[in-house]
């Protein structure tokens, strides 16, 4: 059972990874962040009140004791309580995570489709006006800062044309009951098409703003791998067999060019979760990115630690799941002891 061994080994590897991540985030927050007490206590943060608060929240204990308490909590599923809102960290995170995932997924779909189309067309029409237009679009995509593009989109589509909302996830009065936290899915579950359309309209601008960069990267990668593939012998052979040009491009060239593109898309999904910070702020998108930045600024240690641990766990598990599914689907990939 090499697969089972592989899975167990990868799961066991999760432990040192999480310990490493937890130590790094713990030390960074404790060493580089300002004291949370005056932030939590606000205008009336007297020296005595600050000291009492630190004592009550265990911040006067030695660092290693604080770390052990934190780890003890993690193992019992208790990430602590937000200093600032007095709400359990896990609840704060789960209230926002679906919004970020919904935005990242829609952005990667947008970026993949548009990027592959632009890249393919550019490669096929190499050194023409179409190619130049495609690559200029890609250049704009990698060059424009997300927040600037976001504000431009808001001003144009919400401020001037009045055809799309300026921010938020949905009209509050149309919000479907929470089932999954993904409004597109929840509104379909509730059979509320009006809510679905409204959620979709809210998703368009942030998706474009966030996905633009990844779109550009994917378009460039697609163009270069397509150019490479189109020069291969088997493409010439396919053409010689009399297969139509469209079919040659779709079935023979693009299929084979997709392998590195898929890798790039996978990497971009990770970076989209990070890039969501700015998009979420500009579009008032209630996700985990902008929330975490706020918590870092407020030295809300338990929340920042919780988010980082959760994101680390998510990434490790996503990678594991991808690897496992590769093995199931592609018989050439085997996880023998040596390869794993």
């Amino acid at each position: 059972m090499p697969m089972l061994k592989f899975i167990i080994k990868r799961l066991l590897l999760l432990i040192p990874v999480l310990i490493g991540v937890s130590i790094i985030v713990f030390v960074i927050m404790r060493v580089f962040s300002p004291d949370p007490a005056p932030i939590v206590l606000g205008q009336h943060a007297t020296v005595a009140a600050t000291e009492a608060w630190r004592e009550a929240n265990g911040l006067n204990a030695p660092l290693h004791i604080q770390y052990l308490n934190f780890i003890k909590g993690v193992f019992t599923g208790d990430f602590g309580t937000s200093y600032y809102t007095k709400t359990p960290v896990i609840r704060e995170i789960m209230a926002r995570f679906p919004a970020t995932i919904e935005l990242a997924v829609s952005s990667i779909i947008f970026a993949s489709i548009l990027g592959i189309v632009i890249g393919t067309v550019s490669a096929v029409k190499k050194n023409t006006v179409v190619d130049s237009a495609g690559m200029v679009t890609a250049l704009l995509g990698v060059s424009m800062p997300i927040f600037w593009l976001g504000i431009l989109l808001i001003i144009l589509f919400a401020g001037v044309l009045h055809i799309l909302p300026s921010g938020g996830r949905i009209d509050p009065l149309l919000r479907p009951d929470t089932v999954t936290g993904f409004y597109l899915i929840d509104s379909l579950v509730a059979g509320n098409m009006k809510a679905f359309v409204d959620a979709l309209r809210h998703l368009i601008l942030p998706t474009v703003a966030l996905g633009m960069y990844s779109m550009a990267i994917i378009a460039r990668m697609t163009r270069s791998t397509m150019l490479d593939t189109l020069g291969q012998d088997y493409i010439r052979t396919a053409r010689a067999k009399g297969i139509t040009e469209g079919k040659v491009i779709r079935k023979h060239a693009l299929r084979n060019a997709l392998i590195p593109i898929v890798t790039v898309i996978g990497l971009q999904l990770g970076s989209l979760l990070g890039g969501a910070v700015l998009t979420e702020t500009v579009f008032s998108w209630p996700g985990i990115g902008s929330y975490t930045v706020n918590c870092i600024l407020k030295s809300d240690f338990p929340v920042v630690q919780g988010v980082v641990m959760l994101v680390a766990i998510t990434f490790v598990i996503i990678n594991l799941v991808v690897d496992i599914i590769y093995a199931f689907l592609d018989p050439r990939i085997k996880y023998t002891r040596e390869e794993a």
């Binding site: 709400t87 997924v105 919400a158 898309i265 598990i317 991808v322």
Partner: protein, 526 residues
């Protein structure tokens, strides 16, 4: 042809992960007390957009303005502020008596008032609310508990609708504390029991609106309390939307997506008015000042402090930095706070006199520290203000070095005291003059950043705290203002205005000087 399994694998894993996360999100923090309003009520809805999520909705647990705006629409206290000032008016207490020694306050409560959960508001509820925040019971993160109830020694229920609160010392500001939106609003004792003493996500008060739900960082929905004891809310639903980015908030107003916004600055006023919306700008309950470190060698002498103040043309500075959205301050107290004196004037601009005095004193260099971010009382940032003052001081032959820090670090620096001049400000808590004037007598250097210590001043502060409201008490605060002018521990800069904006469709717009918005008597025409 060989299929591309890798792509399929990625797609499948994505779906799996979404499924996994969807499962996790079952415990969403969005809390639902009653069903959300339906589409049919859309026309009867007011939407107010603010720049940040509230910290929470339990008045004992929060200290931020964003929480406060929601709280005042759900809860009420024993007293409330008058519409355009911080003068006191009855609310859940119809009247009150103060014992001759000034130590016992007896409140006669309004009858027939119910909390949103159907329980009665009565003397027992007041007792629970006060005792929850008294010394010994309050937790360290009840940031206003000590400020509001620090003097209280006991609460006695006289009968169902009479309650007596005893103080350890005479404290006239206590009554003002009871009108605050922090700590003072009455919460349902039953809800406290039900939610383990924390109503941050489950607010239950007596106010004109009831809580429906809060989707974190998105919106808070309230619905009219049809059992409200007073004038019932005109508009059935109100929604507080969170729009963090300032320009996006302005677009949302101009686009008609929201009806009212706040947290704006002077740079967007033209854009808002050009779109046909209205800008509201009452004076705010704040003071923006520059503090001389009175323990430093340079500024231990009042004459030097005054000479520095003479070097700065405050009206010109305020106009240039705040473009009319702040007024030059002649007094520490804003004009609507009881005890304000219109005839107090600060030292006037006289660079020649300043130059002479400073040359005679041999002052050529000072060390300033300031903050890099905007503050409610100084939207231009402390750095810009410091640099402007540096320019004025250069004209009188004084060379300033400025160190700028982010706000949190800055507060640590201020506490450490290694500066000649620092910049600070204050946003009033309770509308009582003592709240502003006592800063200069506070023993804590985090509060009294000038480290000013004057026995006569401290004595007057004690008298003001004990004196009953009226002309005699007002006279005390006038004397304190005069000492500030004569001794000049601070150079007063400005009172910042509270900028908010609303659609012309909104009727009865009411943004209070305390920075709260009261929505119950507002309406919106279609």
């Amino acid at each position: 042809m060989k299929k591309n399994y890798r792509f399929l694998a990625l797609a499948l894993s994505l779906v799996l992960c979404i499924g996994l996360l969807a499962g996790c999100s079952g415990g969403s923090a969005s809390t639902t007390a009653t069903p959300a309003p339906t589409e049919a009520t859309l026309a009867d809805t007011l939407i107010f957009a603010q720049g940040a999520d509230p910290r929470g909705l339990d008045p004992a647990m929060v200290d931020d303005g964003e929480s406060s705006k929601v709280i005042v629409n759900i809860y009420e206290g024993l007293l409330k502020y008058a519409k355009d000032s911080t003068a006191l008016e009855p609310c859940l207490a119809e009247s009150w008596d103060v014992s001759d020694d000034g130590l016992v306050y007896t409140f006669h409560l309004r009858q027939g008032v119910k909390f949103h959960d159907g329980t009665d508001f009565n003397a027992e509820a007041v007792k629970v609310n006060v005792e929850r925040q008294m010394q010994g019971n309050a937790t360290t993160d009840m940031t206003y508990a000590d400020f509001v109830y620090g003097y209280v020694t006991k609460v006695d229920v006289i009968d169902d609708y009479t309650v007596a609160i005893t103080l350890k010392d005479v404290c006239t500001p206590f009554l003002y504390n009871l009108a605050m939106s922090m700590a003072a609003p009455m919460v349902s004792p039953k809800a406290l029991e039900e939610y383990n003493g924390n109503l941050n996500e489950n607010p239950v008060g007596t106010g004109p609106y009831k809580f429906v739900r809060w989707d974190k960082e998105q919106d808070i929905v309230l619905v009219r309390n049809d059992d409200y004891w007073g004038d019932k809310a005109v508009t059935e639903n109100v929604i507080f939307r969170i729009i963090k980015d300032n320009s996006a908030r302005v677009v949302a107003l101009n686009n008609g997506e929201v009806d009212m916004i706040d947290g704006i600055d002077a740079t967007v006023v033209d854009e808002i008015t050009a779109a046909g919306n209205i800008v509201d700008q009452p004076d705010g309950m704040n003071i923006n000042y520059m503090a001389y470190n009175t323990t430093s060698d340079i500024f231990k002498d009042a004459a030097t402090r005054k000479a520095f103040s003479q070097a700065v043309n405050v009206p010109e500075l305020v106009q240039s930095l705040y473009q009319g959205y702040a007024s030059p301050a002649d007094t520490i107290l804003p004009s609507f706070v009881p005890g304000f004196s219109a005839d107090i004037k600060q030292v006037s601009y006289d660079p020649d006199a300043a130059k002479t005095a400073l040359a005679a004193a041999g002052v050529t260099k000072v060390h300033m520290i300031s903050y890099s971010n905007p503050r409610p009382y100084n939207t231009a940032t402390g750095q810009v203000l410091a640099e402007a003052i540096q320019g004025y001081l250069a004209k009188v032959g004084v060379d300033c070095t400025i160190d700028v820090f982010d706000w949190t670090t800055y507060k640590e620096k201020v506490k450490a005291g290694d500066y000649d001049i620092c910049f600070y400000g204050w946003t009033g808590d309770n509308g009582d003059p003592d709240n502003f004037m006592s800063l200069l007598s506070d023993k804590d250097p985090a509060m009294n950043v000038a480290r000013y210590d004057n026995a006569a001043y401290n004595d007057l502060i004690a008298q003001g705290k004990a004196a009953p409201e009226g002309a005699d008490r007002d006279a005390i605060y006038k004397q304190l203002e005069q000492i500030q002018v004569d001794e000049n521990p601070w150079l007063l800069i400005s009172h910042s205005k509270l900028l908010s904006a609303y659609s012309p469709k909104v009727q009865g717009y009411y943004y209070h000087v305390t920075g709260n918005i009261f929505l119950s008597q507002m309406s919106k025409t279609n």
